[in-house]
Amino acid sequence: MIFLSNLVNGISLGSIYAIIALGYTMVYGIAKMLNFAHGDVIMVGAYVAFCALQYWGLPPIAALLVAMVLCTVLGITIEGLAYRPLRQATSLAVLITAIGMSYLLQNLALLIWGANPKSFPAAVMIPIPMISLFGGRLNISGVTLIAILANLVIMAVLTAFISRTKLGKAMRCVSEDRGAAELMGINVNRTISATFAIGSALAAVAGILLCSAYPTLMPTTGSMPGIKAFTAAVFGGIGSIPGAMIGGILLGVIEILGKAYISTELGDAIVFAVLIIVLLFRPTGLLGRPVREKV
């Protein structure tokens, strides 16, 4: 029963990683860049929700929406100001810029919200009581359940969006061949902007879920989950949406089970060791497509 409880917690943590990983994987698939500032957008989303609940007295749903809207604006702004001018630059220049953007966001957060950790009002954000199963032997918290459900809903909606809508199809075109997409009449800049918007809105959701599960909020809160979610995206096959889901969940389960049964201290090391092993055997990740050059 303890195993089952660990498994559920792992899937829940993994669901949060998966939601974050979507932002990495979509931006990589469509804009062909690694947005290392993505983890810090999570942190901003969590702070905004914190302020909305604590200072502005908004209800949880409103706090969620405000955080999503502000993160969307933030994502579009970051892309437009920092990444768009580098569209023709080398990928190394873009990568360094993204890392710089990450530090900028962390330090702005330090300036605005200070260095002292805030305690995120998790019980206010997700007012769902603990669910007891098997006569109290399996307890599932509200946030655990919500994280899993949120991940499933987001995946279903996003998959439908990508395969059916005009914007979703435009994203697939830009992902495959930017020049050919332009020939079709697709505005590549606007499509990339939309990708950042979606990724950042999801980052806000992930930030709130993360801080509801682990309620300590600091300017660096987003960086470790960000790196793990990036790992999850690579694990699942970067660029692949189902890959982000599978990679995220597996990573969460491995982390929780590793911490429970092997070593609490080595939990993170185990996660990254698994990534290295997977990449040795499948360099494109679990669901990644091998790169084919076709003439």
């Binding site: 005009k166 997409a181 332009e182 020939l183 009449g185 590549v188």
Partner: protein, 235 residues
Amino acid sequence: MSMLEINDIHVFYGAIHAIKGVSFEVHEHEIVTLIGANGAGKSTILNTIAGLLKPRSGQILFEGKNINSVPANKMVGLGMALCPEGRRIFQQMTVKENLEMGGYSRPAAEIGSSVEDVFRRFPRLKEREKQIAGTLSGGEQQMLAMARALMSKPKLMMLDEPSMGLAPILVEQIFDIIRELHAAGTTILLVEQNAQMALSVADRAYVLETGTISMSGEAKALLEDDNVRKAYLGS
């Protein structure tokens, strides 16, 4: 009337001066071909007209309007379509989705009937409607690339090496389609390494050599020209 007029364009790739002062024009209802060896700059010219590359100097006029500063994604709305070198179909999308993307610039309500029109012209594609485009044969992929370009209902269709890598019988088919499109009223600018086929289908031709036009004239006259025969027709 000139549908397309190119005045003394210069195009660079970084420091490399790829197109050195090229001028030519395409009249309405013509088939014009640019022929020349590999690396002469044929594709560069088409990509520049389509807006994927920008000329450093010179003008490109489409229906009398300067389109130098029009971004690539707006060109299709003006009425020109480029069927690019190497086909560049969306490999991971289905045949039908590729066609729908070709009609991206048009109102959604018209797409369905245009897809049907295109399927009538390319019955082979209809059979493969739901197939992933990357699994089509080379000839089918070329047909899909042309069909996709047609979905925008272009006044000017630019074709970049449509015969590349295809068996002779497929090359014949592709050129038959070009003739049909022309007969249906589309103006065509064709870039080809297969000079024999290109000259036999075209009204007029320009010969491109390392970034400049070395010869031009009626396609039939060039087909008879000794220099052209020696350099491009292998006889």
